[in-house]
Symmetry: C2
Subunit: 433 residues, 2 copies
C-alpha cells in the first residue's frame, strides 16, 4: 500500500464519514476563494494614490482613514485585482471644462501606471482577457483600468483610443449628471438626449471597434436600452443593483437585467447603502452636508451613505480640492462628518442587504450573469463588510447557498473576463474584415 | 595650534609650493564635476525604455547596443540628469496622424514617469527650477521632461497644458520637417510658414503662460527670429551648434547666437557628427541606407552620423516599427549597418571637434550662454566620447582653458535652471496680474 492510499483510507476513517464541520467548511471556502481569480469591477482606489502620505503597501483601516483597498487588505480579503477606475466628476461642458477633464483623467491613468511600476513585484497591468490568469499565476495583483464617466473624452472620439492605448478596457458614458455622450440615471434636470447623444452612439461604436467593454452603470435606462441594442458585444453594469431589491434610480429593473443576461452581459452588485436600502431624505442633513463640503472647498455632495465623505474617502479630492487636503484638514473633515452622521443619522445597509441584492440578481439570471463591483473607495461598504477584507464571507455564503465552485469562479472573475474576451474577439474580427 | 592650522601648514609645505600634478588636476576637475549639478538638455534615452530587455539600471556599452545613457553610466560620467525628451517624428498632418502623434507622445511621457516610479530611489521627476538642487542633494538623478517636435499638440493648443501637467518644461515646435506650428531648418521642400504659423504663435504664448522654456533647435532661422521676438522669456537651443564652427543648416550663425544671449538665452552644444564637421554626400550610401531601413520596416533615414542607426540606437523605433524589433532583428540591423558604414565610410567627428564647437560659442557669448545638449541616444556621440562616460573630460578641459568653477557650474546646469526660473517667474507674474 503506498502512502497516498494510506492517507486516503485514514482520511476516510477519521473524517469523511461524518459531516463537514463549520471550521472545515470555512477553510474549504477560503481555499476556493484563494484558488479562483477574484476581481472587483469598480475600484475607486486610484483616487487615493495622490493622497499625501497614503501608500497602497500600508495596511490602513476604514475606521481611521475611510479607505477600503490596499495591498495588505487585498491579500487578507483574497482580492486578486479588478478594474481600477479613472473617475472624473461631471463638470462644465465648456472647451475649458472638457480639456481639464481630459487632463485630470490622463493624470489619473498615469498615477495608476506609476503605482504598478513602483510595485511591479506585487501588481501588474492587464490589457487582455488572457492577462488575468497569467498575472494571477505569477502571484501578482491584476490591474485592469476603466473609465467611469467618459466626460474626459469630451467631443473628441479619438481620445477613446488614447485611453485604450494607456490600457483602459471598460468605459461608461456618464456619471451622476448628463454628459455630452449620454443621459445619467440621476440628473436632477432629467433627460437631455433621451438616451445616447449622436456622439454617444459614435462612442459605443468606437469602444466596440477597439475592444472596450461598455459599462451602463450610472447611465439612464434609455442609455442602457440603446447601448444594449447598438453594442456588438455584451454590456456590463460594473457597479449596480436590482430595482427589485431596492427601488432606486441607480438600480435596474428585472426586465432589463434579463435582457442584459440574454445578450451575455453581467450585473456586478454594488454595496453602497443608499442604493441597497431605502434611506429617508433629511433636508437638515443635506443642508448641513452642503455647508460642510463648502467649508472644506469640496464640490457639492450627492446623496451618499452616511460616514462616507464625498463618495468615499478617496473621492474627496476628485473634481475638487479634496485631493490637496492635508492630513490635518482631512482629519478635521472626517471628525465633523462623524458628528454630522451622529446628529442626523440615516439607516445603514448591512452585509445581509448586500447578499439580498446578490441573491435577487442570481435568482433572476443565474451565476453567469452576476458578479461584484462594490464601489470600494467610491462610497461602497456595508455594516459587516466595510472593506475588501470582508470578501471571503461572500464566497462562503455562495457555497452555503449551493452554488458550485465553477459558479463562484464565474461570479468572481470568469464572467467579466468572458466579456473582455468577447470585446477583444469582436475588435479582432473587424480588423480582419 | 589647532589641527586645521597644522594641516594647512603641512599642506603648504608639502604640496602647494610646487605646481599641481596632472593627477591632482584631474582629481580636482572630477571633484568639481561631482559637486555641481550636471544636466544635459537633450536626452533621447526615453526611446529606449520600451526596448525589449533594455533596463536603465543595467550597464550597457555603445559598442554592443549603441545606447549612450543608463544609470551606471550616469554615475560614471557624473551626469546628474537633464531634460528627457518626448520625441515624435514628424508624420502626416491629417486628423489621424495628429491623434496618433498625440497618443505616442502621451505613452512616451508615461514611460518616463513609469521609469522614475520604478526606480524612485535613484531618479526623481523635476517640475520646478528648485527641484534640481533638491533632487541632487538627495543623491538622485534629475528627470525634467521636454517635447522635441510639438507635432503631438496637433491643432489643439490646450494639449500644451496637458503635457505641462504631465511635467514637460521645455518644448520645440518642429523637428526635421515643417509642422503645423513652424518651419523646420531642414525641410526638403523649404519654408511653408516663413517662420511660425498662426497656431505656432499661439503655441509660443501658451508656453510663456504656463512656464515652459521654448526650444528653437531644429526650427528654421525665421522661427528662431520670431520666437526670440515673441517669447517673454529667454529661448534655448537645446541641442545645436554654431554655424561658424561648421556651416550646416541645423547650426546657427553668430549674429543669432549673440541675439539669443543678449536676451538671456543659451545654446547647448550638440555632438552629432553630421552637424560638427562637413560630411560629403555619398548618393550610393544614401541609397543603401534607404534600402536597409525599408528592409527593417523603419521610416526613411535622414543624414546621420555613420554607425548611428535611425538617429541613434533608441530612435530605431520612433515613428516606425523599430521599437517592436526583437533583439535578434536589432542585432541583424546593427550588423548590416556596420557593413554599410565600412563600405561607404564618412568622416566621423571627434572629441576635439565637439570642444571646438563649445569653445567657438564660449568665445562668442561667454559661459552664461553655453551648455551641453549632446543628443545622446538621438544621434550624438563622437570619437573619444561615445557616451556620457566621456563628460568628465569636458569639465577638465574647461578648467584647463581657464574657466572658473562658477563658469563651469553655469554651463553644466546653472544656465538652463536660470531659464526655467525665468519661465516660471513670468508664468507666476501673469497669474497675479
Amino acid at each position: 500500500m503506498n502512502r497516498v492510499s494510506l492517507f486516503f483510507l485514514l482520511s476516510l476513517a477519521l473524517g469523511l464519514a461524518r459531516a463537514e464541520t463549520d471550521v472545515e467548511f470555512s477553510a474549504r471556502a477560503r481555499a476556493l476563494h484563494e484558488r479562483i481569480i477574484a476581481l472587483d469591477t469598480h475600484l475607486d482606489t486610484p483616487a487615493n494614490f495622490s493622497r499625501p502620505g497614503w501608500d497602497i503597501m500600508d495596511r490602513h483601516t476604514y475606521e481611521t482613514d475611510r479607505s477600503q483597498v490596499d495591498y495588505p487588505r487585498m491579500v487578507e480579503g483574497g482580492l486578486d485585482g479588478g478594474f481600477w477606475a479613472i473617475f472624473t466628476a461631471q463638470g462644465p461642458r465648456t472647451p475649458e471644462g472638457l480639456a481639464a477633464a481630459r487632463d485630470k483623467a490622463l493624470i489619473r491613468a498615469v498615477e495608476i501606471r506609476e503605482m504598478v511600476a513602483k510595485h511591479s513585484d506585487k501588481f501588474e497591468l492587464a490589457f487582455t482577457s488572457d492577462d488575468a490568469a497569467r498575472i494571477h499565476a505569477a502571484g501578482k495583483r491584476i490591474v485592469y483600468q476603466s473609465i467611469e464617466n467618459a466626460y474626459p473624452i469630451g467631443k473628441d472620439i479619438s481620445l477613446v483610443q488614447t485611453f485604450y492605448t494607456l490600457g483602459v478596457r471598460m468605459m461608461s458614458p456618464a456619471h451622476t449628471s448628463n454628459s455630452d455622450l449620454a443621459d445619467s440615471a440621476t440628473d436632477a434636470n432629467g433627460p437631455e438626449w433621451h438616451g445616447l447623444s449622436p456622439l454617444g452612439k459614435e462612442f459605443v461604436a468606437e469602444c466596440n471597434r477597439l475592444g472596450i467593454i461598455l459599462d451602463a452603470s450610472h447611465s439612464a435606462d434609455s442609455v442602457f436600452d440603446q447601448m444594449l441594442e447598438l453594442s456588438k458585444t455584451p454590456l456590463i453594469l460594473s457597479h449596480s443593483g436590482p430595482k427589485g431589491a431596492n427601488n432606486h434610480p441607480r438600480n435596474i429593473d428585472d426586465e432589463r437585467i434579463k435582457k442584459l443576461a440574454a445578450k451575455g452581459g453581467v450585473i456586478q452588485i454594488n454595496s453602497l447603502s443608499a442604493y441597497l436600502i431605502p434611506q429617508p431624505v433629511i433636508p437638515e442633513r443635506n443642508a448641513a452636508l452642503a455647508q460642510l463640503y463648502a467649508k472644506f472647498g469640496l464640490p457639492a455632495p450627492q446623496a451618499r451613505a452616511p460616514g462616507v465623505p464625498v463618495g468615499g474617502a478617496g473621492r474627496g479630492g476628485r473634481g475638487g480640492r479634496g485631493g490637496d487636503m492635508s492630513a490635518e484638514q482631512r482629519d478635521a473633515f472626517m471628525k465633523e462628518m462623524a458628528e454630522l452622521d451622529k446628529k442626523y443619522p440615516v439607516p445603514q445597509a448591512t452585509f445581509e442587504d448586500f447578499m439580498r441584492h446578490v441573491n435577487y440578481a442570481l435568482k433572476l439570471v443565474g451565476p453567469e450573469h452576476v458578479g461584484f463591483g462594490a464601489d470600494w473607495d467610491g462610497g461602497g461598504g456595508v455594516e459587516g463588510m466595510r472593506d475588501i477584507t470582508g470578501y471571503p464571507k461572500v464566497t462562503e455564503r455562495l457555497l452555503k447557498e449551493g452554488y458550485s465552485e465553477q459558479d463562484v469562479a464565474n461570479m468572481w472573475g470568469g464572467n467579466v473576463i468572458r466579456l473582455l474576451k468577447a470585446a477583444e474577439d469582436y475588435a479582432k474580427s473587424q480588423k480582419k474584415a
